[in-house]
């Protein structure tokens, strides 16, 4: 109990620090949300064009039949993973260059809370950004968002967050070892963009490709979020994705942590914790 409380306070210290840093870059903060709006506008016009044909696209029916809602959820959550991973990777890299990473490792904090705390702001802030997509979509572009099963949506938000954290910690291990060019952030973004069905329904893809896509957490988030937010689907309908994302997080976070700890151990041998 006492240890859980100490852990919470430690995580809060990370969050407080990162919120203050973000608040000091006010203009960037503003542009983040302006960017969200401009993406919404782009896809709104695309969907105006799609209106002529969307009735004939049978793959869209499952998700309510309207392209704008479909793509809004797709983009909101695909940029979630992408932005969270990028923000986190950048934070680790910067900590390495300034030496704060080394400074943190000389304290009595354990490595697990250190890395989890470092990722916290990235995942929470991008969650907010994702909500902004949905709010803009609903208020400005009149997209109907089903909130009847909001606890299910919230559950998926949480599961997406933990899955992203697992991937982020895994990527951070590569950054500690190789400094630049982690394959997780770049590779995953590329694959997800192709396979997860962000701007087109994944059902268009050949069957075997869809099965590959099923291994990507984003595919499950998108499928479930669309069903929940666009058609008000209850938990039973998206149960498979709950199981997949939970399993991904439960296995992924310990594996990613072990990899990260291994990477830091290697860097300790090489004396390269603070290398560029």
């Amino acid at each position: 109990m006492k240890r859980a409380w100490a852990l919470l306070r430690l995580l809060w210290a990370f969050l407080r620090r990162d919120i203050q840093i973000a608040a000091s870059y006010r203009l960037q903060f503003f542009f983040q949300f302006a960017g969200v709006l401009s993406i919404c506008i782009t896809f709104f016009f695309l969907s105006l064009m799609m209106r002529r044909v969307e009735g004939g696209i049978i793959q869209l029916e499952k998700y309510g039949g309207k392209y704008f809602g479909f793509v809004l959820v797709g983009v909101a959550f695909s940029t979630y993973m992408d932005a969270a991973l990028r923000t986190f990777a950048q934070a680790i890299r910067q900590a390495q260059i300034t030496g704060t990473f080394e400074a943190m490792l000389t304290t009595r904090a354990k490595i697990g809370p250190l890395i989890a705390g470092s990722s916290l702001y990235a995942v929470l802030f991008t969650s907010l950004r994702t909500v902004a997509f949905l709010v803009f979509g609903a208020l400005i572009f009149q997209q109907e968002v089903h909130l009847s099963t909001w606890p299910v949506a919230l559950l998926f938000m949480g599961l997406t967050l933990t899955a992203t954290m697992a991937l982020g910690i895994f990527a951070a291990g590569f950054i500690v070892l190789f400094k630049q060019g982690d394959p997780v952030t770049a590779g995953l973004a590329g694959l997800s963009w192709l396979l997860s069905g962000i701007i087109y329904p994944k059902e268009i893809l050949p069957h075997w490709v869809q099965q590959v896509a099923g291994a990507l957490p984003l595919t499950h988030t998108l499928e479930a979020m669309r069903l929940v937010l666009l058609t008000g689907a209850p938990l039973e309908v998206v149960w498979g994705s709950v199981v997949y994302l939970s399993a991904f997080s439960l296995v992924g976070i310990p594996v990613a942590l072990a990899w990260f700890i291994y990477a830091v151990g290697r860097a300790r041998v090489a004396g390269s914790l603070a290398n560029y």
Binding site: A6, A13, T106, G271
Partner: protein, 277 residues
């Protein structure tokens, strides 16, 4: 009572990153840099050691091994009786480390927020952390700077924040790496006084202070441990081993002087290492 720091037979060799050429000529093997070649050192609680040596002697590597930032190739390291290689988490809890890198803070937040963040990493929160931050800031004359952004400080002020950070957890062992490098003489002397009188004499802490500056070593500590090329070359009272220290410092300098004089034969030979009064 166990020694505060106990190092035996410590070796560390680094394998630097290979250049593209070395990488292609892999059959030639990989060059190694031996930073530590068998170091033995015992420091008792309440003892202040000046670790003196020219650039590249291995001082930083030795401190980083103690702080568990670098894993040694061979040897044993105990901090406060805890094996720092087998149980680095517990060893670190005994230890404050003042990095040579005074940039290692979050530049866009205030000094106070920086110190509070590192206090949290040391397990200090809320009012307790606030009190401790004010204390260490007062020790280093940073009281007026707590509200300023870290990026607005001068290099010397940043260095004092780094020293304050190392003292936050009030640990039994404190390591300083060139901690007065960028301070003006008055402030450097005040930091030495804080170390000597508050940390060591009153606090009974064990302190290792790495420096390349002969005058600083002399001003700081009774016990001087001299490192050269990864080994402990000699140790004792500064006054007693001064000739040996001068010899060590000038040996390397002489070789470099020769190279310089070959290029510019008309230059006068350099005087030996200087010790200001």
């Amino acid at each position: 009572m166990s020694a505060a720091v106990e190092i035996q037979g410590l070796h560390k060799s680094f394998r630097p990153r290979r250049s593209l050429r070395q990488w292609l000529q892999f059959w030639k093997g990989r060059p190694e840099v031996e930073a530590l070649r068998g170091v033995d050192l015992v420091v008792q609680p309440g003892e202040l050691v000046a670790l003196l040596g020219p650039n590249g002697a291995g001082k930083t590597t030795l401190l980083k091994v103690l702080a568990t930032l670098v894993t040694p190739s061979a040897g044993t390291v105990r901090v406060g009786g805890v094996d720092a290689i087998k149980d680095p988490d517990r060893a670190r809890a005994q230890l404050g480390y003042v990095l040579a890198e005074e940039r290692s803070f979050f530049w866009r937040i205030s000094v106070r927020e920086n110190l509070r963040f590192f206090a949290a990493l040391q397990g200090l929160y809320g009012a307790e952390a606030a009190r401790r931050v004010d204390e260490v800031a007062a020790l280093l004359g940073l009281g007026d700077h707590l509200g300023r952004d870290f990026q607005d400080l001068s290099v010397g002020q940043r260095q004092r924040v780094a020293i304050a950070r190392g003292l936050l957890p009030d640990p039994p062992v404190v390591l300083f790496d060139e901690a007065t490098r960028s301070l003006d003489p008055g402030r450097a002397e005040r930091v030495r006084r804080v170390i000597r009188e508050l940390l060591v004499q009153r606090g009974k802490k064990a302190v290792i202070f790495a420096t390349h500056d002969l005058a600083e070593a002399r001003a700081l500590a009774d016990r001087v441990v001299v490192m050269a090329e990864g080994r402990i070359a000699c140790q004792g009272l500064y006054a007693e081993i001064e000739p040996e220290i001068r010899r060590l410092f000038s040996a390397e300098a002489a070789a470099e002087d020769q190279a310089l004089l070959r290029l510019f034969p008309d230059l006068a030979p350099a005087p030996g290492p200087e010790v200001r009064p």
